[in-house]
Each structure stands twice: as C-alpha cells, then as structure tokens.
C-alpha cells in the first residue's frame, strides 16, 4: 500500500449476520485519504456510511479486504489493538452527541484524556480551543443543562482532546437546527484549516457537504461517485 495516506481501504467488505441472514453492509470499498483532508460522505440511509466509520474507527473488524489506518493494518488488529486505536488515533463525533449524562462537560472531556492515559492537566492550546468553540464558560454543566449545539461542541472537544490523527463525525448536525448546524460545521472547517485536522464527515445535508474539500457518494455498500 502506498505510504503517505492516513486511511486506505481496498475491496473492504463487511457482512453482518442477522439471525441466519447475511447483511452486506459494505461490498468492496476503495478509499484513500490524505492527512489534512476534509471529506464528506453522503448517501441514502442503509448505504453503509456508518459501517465504514465503525471499521475505520476500530469499533468492529472488517470481514474481508484491506484497511490501513494511521499505518496500521486493521485486519491484523485484535480487540485490544482496536481499543488502542480508539484511544489515540481516532476521535468520534456522533449525531446523538453521546456525552456521558452523569458527568459535567469538563469531566466528559477529562474522561477521554484519562482513558487515553493522559494524566496531565489540559494544555493551554486546548483551553484556547475551548474558548474558540465557545464552550469554555459552560464546562461545569451536565449535558442536560446544555443546548444541542453546546453538547455537540463539547463532543467535538472531547473527540480531539487527545489529538487524534482522524476525526470521524457521523451526521454531526443531524440533531441540530440550522444555526447550530452552521456553527458546528464552521468549527469543523476551522479545525481542519488551523490544525490540519483530518476529518471524515457523514451528512445528509448537501449544504453541509459544501464545507468539505471533497464528497464521496455511497449506495448499497459501495462508493458510486467521488467529487
């Protein structure tokens, strides 16, 4: 596989067994991502977008094909190896925010640092980032006291606190109104520009895809178009 790519998949397939039925979620995906890329992934629901993320992010192993993420061959990784990948190499942002409801925003971010084995206090750069995200004054609230937009920005902060090579955002604006969507998209765009953060973003919203450098269209577990 060619070097220099941060993500590379070849004929990536994933089949889920549902009872006795095989469900092919991915049917041969070839994808190459350069560091610093900002990629939008669109496609009808059920087309395998989330599954692609789950494999790249090490939440589930591929059924066949090759996947290299951050120089590692995911097909060879054990469960523990995938856990390490999630600690350091990828950060997830979900449609439903997925903050831990019992913890304050600050502790949600601290948990991610703790799990990654990062026991030092947050660096000044990160403090600056929190200000930039506009959530530095909301850190002592629990998720249920935060607006959807605030929760998603906390989730973004949590996803990048360990400086992952890749940020995977699965419909990050799916639960947000237009204004908050725009704010979140601008944040992602800015992270990509300022920090060179590699971002893959699934979206249903054509306006959101405009923020990305390029867009990949998926259907029935395949990439049908790259623009």
């Amino acid at each position: 596989m060619s070097s220099g790519l941060i993500i590379e998949t070849r004929d990536l397939r994933k089949t889920y067994k549902v009872g006795k039925v095989d469900v092919s979620a991915l049917r041969g995906v070839d994808l190459s991502v350069q560091p610093g890329d900002f990629l939008a992934i669109v496609g009808p629901s059920g087309s395998g977008k989330s599954t692609l993320f789950h494999i790249i992010g090490g939440l589930t192993p591929p059924t066949s094909g090759q996947v290299h993420v951050g120089g590692r061959d995911l097909a060879l990784l054990t469960d523990a190896g995938r856990t390490r990948l999630r600690k350091r190499t990828v950060g997830f942002v979900f449609q439903k925010f997925n903050l831990l409801p019992n913890l304050t925003a600050r502790d949600n971010i601290a948990v991610a640092r703790y799990i990654a084995g990062n026991h030092a206090g947050p660096d000044p750069e990160f403090q600056e980032l929190l200000r930039f995200l506009g959530i530095d004054h909301r850190l002592d609230h629990k998720p249920n006291a935060l607006s959807g937009g605030e929760q998603q920005r906390i989730a973004i902060a949590r996803a990048i606190v360990n400086h992952p090579a890749i940020l995977l955002a699965d419909e990050p604006t799916g639960n947000l109104d237009t204004e908050n969507s725009k704010a979140v998209l601008e944040v992602l765009c800015d992270l990509n520009k300022r920090l060179g953060q590699t971002i893959l973003m699934i979206t249903h919203n054509p306006e959101a895809a405009v923020f990305a450098h390029r867009t990949i269209h998926m259907r029935d577990g395949r990439i049908i178009e790259k623009t």
Partner: protein, 369 residues
C-alpha cells in the same frame, strides 16, 4: 477519574444506591449483632464467674464438661467440709443453681459464706435477704429488664418473690435467693450444684486441682481452675456458637452477593449506551469491568458502615429491652472482618454484571436506546 465516574453513577440513581447499601448493611448488622451477642454472653458469664472470687470450681460429673450451665443438684453438701480440710484450701462454698429463662439462672447462696469468700454483694438499693423464704436479690440489669424496684414482687420459678435488694452485677448471678430455700423448693435438701473453692494462695490453683483429681473421693467430679473454667465460656471455645456464626455469615455473604449482582446488573443494563461511549473513547474491557467492580465495592463499603451503625442501634434496643438476658456488646475487632467479608461478597457479585458489561459490543451498545 474512575472515582468520579463511580461516584456520579451512584449519585445518579440515589434510590437504587441507598437501597443496595441498606440491603448490604442488614446482614452486616445481623452478623455483628450475633457476634456482639455471643461475645457479650460469654464475657458476662466470665466476669460473673471470676467475680465469685474462687480459685477452683468443682461440678458434679453429670454436668457436661464444657456446658455453660450446671443444672442439677448432685453434690452432697457434706463434701464441702472434706474439701476445706485440704492443704491450701481456705474455704469452699456450695451454690445451688436453677436455670430459669435461658440464659438466666437463679442461684441459691448462703449470703454469710458468700461474704467470707469475696466480701459479698454490693447493694445499689435495698438490703440483703430479710425473709429468706420469700426474698430475692436481683442485679441492676435484671431489674431494668423486669422494671423492678426494691419492694417489687416478681414471679420467678412460678412463685412470687419480693425484691429486697438490687445488687451490682458481675458477681456470680443475676438472681440470688437463699440456698436452703432453693434446696427446699428443688427437693434437694443437703445438695448443691457446684462448689467454689478459695485457696490461701491463688498461684497454687493448678497444683491443688491436680491433687484433687488424684483423690478417689472426687472421682465423680469435674474439677477445674476458675481460669480454665471461664475460658470454656470464651466464644471461640463454644463450637455451636462458632458454627452458627459461620452459617449467618454465609447467609449474609449470599445476600450481599445477590443484592450487588442484581443491582449492578440493572445498572449495567441501564448504562449500556454509556458503556458504548466509554468504549468508543478507547475504554478497554478491563476498564469497564473495573468501574463496575469498584462501584460494587463502594456499595459494599457503605453497606458495612451502615451495618456497623445499625449494630449500635440493635445494641441500644437490646440494652433497653433485655439487658439481663442479652448483654450484647460492640465487638470492634469484627469490623474489619465484616468489611472484608462484605467486600468479598460484593466483589464477587459484581463480576458477572461487570464481565457482561465489558463484553458489550460497542456498536450495539451505542445504538441502545
């Protein structure tokens, strides 16, 4: 951070946490109360036996060798004079023992002889037996239990007795009547249940016991130094009490185990999505397991503390209701034992829910509603 996570989880469902702690605490209280009760009973018996001021005790052979009671009046009083002729024996005192409500005994004592042996009872209220046929002395604990004062009439052994004096506890018996009167009531004239022997030199007790045992005259007697006798009351030497304690501990551990297993299993189900989130952040299986186990151990710790507090409550209630029958005490040395036992039970109980949480598939957990 683990501590924060665990603590916030416990706080998030306060009712569940409190109920779990309560359910863990109850068996801890039961165990501590049982231990406090058996220690209290044996210490109390030891204190009262020592309070007699004798160095040697002789019991009729029909009384079991290691029984706390000495029921039966089998010893002829004429032996007392024989014993007193032994070298180093200063005096011998025969006492009639009549068990009433367990674990209480009525003791028939000649007060004048008893005084010669140990200075006699200390009277908190009232006076010694005035009318030996109808008067009784009781100690302050039995007085409290029966709500009796000097002059009260108590029914004991099926007949009325007038309380002539209330004595300080810790010497021989809680309930004392005249020896001759008790012999008469028991149809055991001239017989006693036990003989206490006082020496001119307590250090010679072992030696005198050896000599008494060699003597044909006492072949039918159980003869022990007072020290050996009282140590038979020690909780550790009473097999039945020990076994019973183990059984109650076993039940307690089982309850703690089941409570924690259930409580943590429900908590883990409720938190399926959160477990998925932790896994998506790179939390390992052992990290998830650790959180569940630590949460369970925390419940166990609080349960133990609550159990200890409630054992004080039990002690207080028992002290207020039946101080004479159940002299329960707080046995501090059992606190760490109770803690270790509880932690073992709760730790084991959390393993199944913990492992099932650790094994959750992250994607399914994240999709959980």
């Amino acid at each position: 951070m683990t501590a924060r996570l665990v603590w916030e989880n416990l706080k998030h469902k306060p009712m569940r946490s409190l109920l779990s702690v309560l359910l863990i605490g109850v068996p801890v209280t039961l165990v501590l109360s049982l231990v406090g009760l058996s220690h209290g009973l044996s210490e109390d018996a030891q204190t009262r036996a020592r309070g007699v001021g004798a160095d040697i005790i002789m019991r009729g052979a029909s009384t079991s060798k290691v029984a706390i009671s000495f029921s039966g009046t089998t010893i002829n009083e004429k032996y007392i004079g024989l014993i007193e002729q032994y070298p180093h024996v200063k005096m011998a005192l025969g006492v009639v023992v009549k068990p009433v409500e367990l674990p209480l005994n009525v003791m028939g004592v000649d007060l004048a002889e008893f005084s010669r042996m140990n200075g006699g009872f200390t009277y908190l209220h009232g006076v010694p037996l005035q009318d030996p046929d109808n008067d009784v002395l009781i100690d302050k604990y039995y007085a409290a239990q029966r709500h009796a004062q000097v002059g009260s009439t108590l029914t004991i052994m099926g007949r009325p007795w007038r309380v002539s004096g209330i004595i300080q506890g810790g010497k021989l018996a809680r309930i004392v009547v005249d020896k001759k009167r008790l012999q008469f009531l028991e149809s055991a004239n001239g017989k006693v249940s036990v003989i206490y022997v006082k020496l001119d030199n307590p250090a010679l007790a072992d030696q005198v016991v050896e000599e008494l045992r060699k003597d044909e005259n006492w072949a039918d007697f159980n003869i022990d130094t007072m020290e050996a006798f009282t140590s038979m009351f020690s909780v550790n030497n009473i097999e039945q009490v020990r076994i019973f304690t183990y059984v109650v501990i076993g039940i307690g551990v089982l309850i703690g185990f089941a409570v924690v297993c259930l409580s943590m299993y429900m908590a883990v189900l409720q938190r399926t999505r959160e477990i998925g989130i932790l896994k998506s952040l790179g939390g390992s299986n052992s990290f998830i397991l650790r959180i569940v186990v630590i949460e369970a151990l925390t419940l166990g710790l609080f349960g133990t503390v609550l159990g200890i507090l409630m054992s004080y409550g039990a002690c207080w209630v028992i002290g207020a209701l039946v101080p004479a029958s159940i002299p329960m005490i707080i046995v501090y040395s059992w606190w760490p034992i109770a803690l270790v036992i509880t932690l073992a039970g709760t730790g084991l109980g959390s393993l199944y829910p913990g492992l099932s949480a650790a094994r959750h598939d992250p994607i399914e957990a994240l999709a959980y509603e």
